[in-house]
């Protein structure tokens, strides 16, 4: 029994070298050749890092395409979903309020045009994407707030669609809004 215990401890230490030193070292070394060098892919604008390509951020001003509701309020060090059950009355009231607010901010839009992702919180609270419909339904408001031609803004959205080969088509909200800022600056 005693010798078993010592064997177990020694084998544990040896495996730790393999699994906890060598293995992560290899992954880390290879990551140096990957985009972002394993640090996460950052996006800069005018020489300033404004975000990570894969991490959603909060956009709630009318002149930007708004990102999805977030249970983490887009705090990227405290990811969280809402964990609300589908029939929870309190939760359904919040969803209804989000819809009412959206319809108020986007006059002329009907409820049937609002995709559900715009009034429901994502799993991570950091969802970087919207569906194409989720961006298109905001075009009129964004164009009006920026005094841009709606057709040009719509064309911009169309350009930003990343087709999902097998999953849903989606748009990176950060990239879309940066392109929008660039369009306005011109």
């Amino acid at each position: 029994m005693k010798s078993q215990l010592f064997s177990a401890i020694r084998l544990t230490l040896a495996l730790m070298v393999l699994c906890c030193v060598l293995y992560p070292a290899i992954v880390w070394a290879v990551a140096q050749a990957a985009p972002g060098r394993g640090e996460g892919v950052q996006i800069s604008c005018n020489g300033r890092v404004v975000g990570f390509a894969n991490v959603g951020q909060k956009f709630d001003k009318p002149e930007y395409f708004n990102s999805r509701p977030s249970a983490a309020d887009y705090h990227a060090d405290a990811s969280s979903g809402s964990n609300k059950g589908p029939g929870n009355p309190e939760y359904l009231a919040v969803v209804k309020a989000r819809l009412d607010a959206f319809l108020l901010q986007n006059p002329g839009v009907k409820a049937a045009d609002v995709p559900a992702e715009l009034i429901t919180a994502s799993g991570s609270g950091l969802d970087p994407h919207l569906s194409p419909a989720g961006a298109l339904v905001q075009v009129a408001r964004v164009a009006a707030a920026r005094k841009l031609d709606a057709a040009r803004v719509q064309a911009l959205v169309q350009q930003q669609i990343e087709p999902g080969t097998l999953g849903p088509d989606h748009i990176n909200v950060l990239k879309l809004n940066l392109a929008l800022d660039a369009l306005t600056a011109n």
Binding site: S3, S7, A8, I9, R10, L11, T12, A14, L15, L18, C19, C20, P24, V27, V30, A31, P35, G36, R37, G38, E39, G40, V41, V49, V50, G51, F52, N54, Q57, Y74, H75, A76, D77, A78, S79, G81, S82, N83, K84, G85, P86, G87, N88, K96, L99, A111, A112, V114, P115, A116, S122, G123, S124, G125, L126, D127, P128, H129, G167, P168
Partner: protein
Amino acid sequence: MNKELLGILLIFGSTVLLAIPLGRYLATIYRGDKSWTDFLAPFERLLFRAGGIDANRGMTWQQHLVALLTINMVWFGWALLVLCTQGSLPLNPDHNPSMSPDQAFNTAISFLVNCNLQHYSGESGATYFSQVFCLMFLQFVTAATGMAACVVVFNALKEGTTEKLGNFYNYFVKSITRVLLPLSLALALVLVFQGTPMNWAAKAPIVTVQGDSVNVSRGPAAALIGIKQMGTNGGGFFGVNSAHPLENPTYLTNALENGAIVLIPIAMALAFGFYLGRPRLGWMVFGVMTAGYLLLQVPTVALEMHGNPAIARLGVDQSLGSMEGKEVRVGAAASALWAIQTTVTSNGSVNAMHDSLTPISGMNTLLGMMTNAFYGGVGVGFLNFFVFIIVAVFISGLMVGRTPEFLGKKIEAREMKIAIIIALLHPLLILTGTAMSAHLYAGNPTEYAGWLANPGYHGFSEMLYEYTSSAANNGSGFEGLGDNTPWWNISTGIVMVLARYLPIIGPVAIAGLLARKKFIPESAGTLRVDTATFGVMVFFVIWIIAALAFFPALALGPLAEHFTLYQ
């Protein structure tokens, strides 16, 4: 055809296609036959020498269990030590604190038993040191422990009579060097190229386009995610697991991480047949498992893609399905696929929040864990299934008035007692835990108000889910549950320990007892176990024992919720 449906069919189909050669490969390396990975043998000898182990010594079933439990005890001590002191250990650039004793107890057990229930969030509750040297280490070795125990049972079912069932350390080390490590490495390398971080720096402070200040958590995530998915562990690097856009950045990573969940469990079921030189047996096991799995999977995909009826009543466009708790890049169909695959195996990683699934989907995830044998955990899934086979053989034997025998060995009273105790342990642990918690909550709803994020039936489901996940060593959660309290930490800790070791000890003991018995060659009077008829029999045994025991509890939770929501 809808492309999201096509996507999930491709993910599942290609995983099965990969699992077939992997199953053959597993049988080859565990038998010790020549294989192309023999170039790793010198490294393995080095590991054995470091441990002072003779990897060729045959062990009896008792010696196997002593070796298994001893090394597990060492890991438990190590995990507790690291988690209680992580705040002052190196590799902690974010200055995260040490865990409280009850949380450390829960987390140490949770990773020790391959459950990976997490009552902490990776970003703030663990350090890079504890993630790599404690949690990720346990993800490797506990998966290998289950696989080694499974091979011991394979050995016992070979023809002939024997006491010696191979060497535990041999199977254990090979599972790491020849299966888990290479597969995890392959997955981790794809992840880093898709944008998953693998660094040692602190959170990145940034000012967003709109001018908000946020800190973006990073760390050595890719390495951990590789083994997390491969070893049916499921404990994520970040709090929300693979819903996190850094843990699972693209549809491709989602497909690969999802395939990794069921790859080894399916391969292990097939390896059973290849190992014994009776492939049909492996296909029978695979067939029963797949039938049970599909029964849960199909309705879940349909319901999640259809959306939440309460939100449909608002008149909005729900063509993408139910999106609460889901990510746009993944979509409803692939979220539903993952939800069921992660619960029929004992993985427990998530790419969508299970608490927000529609009620019947939530029930199907529960049923996956309640049966815990449709694929199941790496190695241990087959052990659970083996218990059901024994019960099915016994019942079939009685039905036709023959002495029950399985692969040439008589099943007698002692084996049956063990099998039934193990089969009934699972409902006992789950229902007792849930009943006690529900009793506490009902007695003093104000004191325990922090427990439940949702009222009514769904609140009950949250408690039921927590114990089911603990007993199935799954580790996913209805995460609305406020579970970082001494009650939940300690009670689920106890459930996890009992639900891990007894279902390993039981089947290994049965196998050891069978191996010693006289071998009766097959004759016209033998019950054929590699047939569809016997498969159907096992299927119903599983449903009757595992699923029906839970029906009353499910009626109080998800079923009641369903009929309220879809009125």
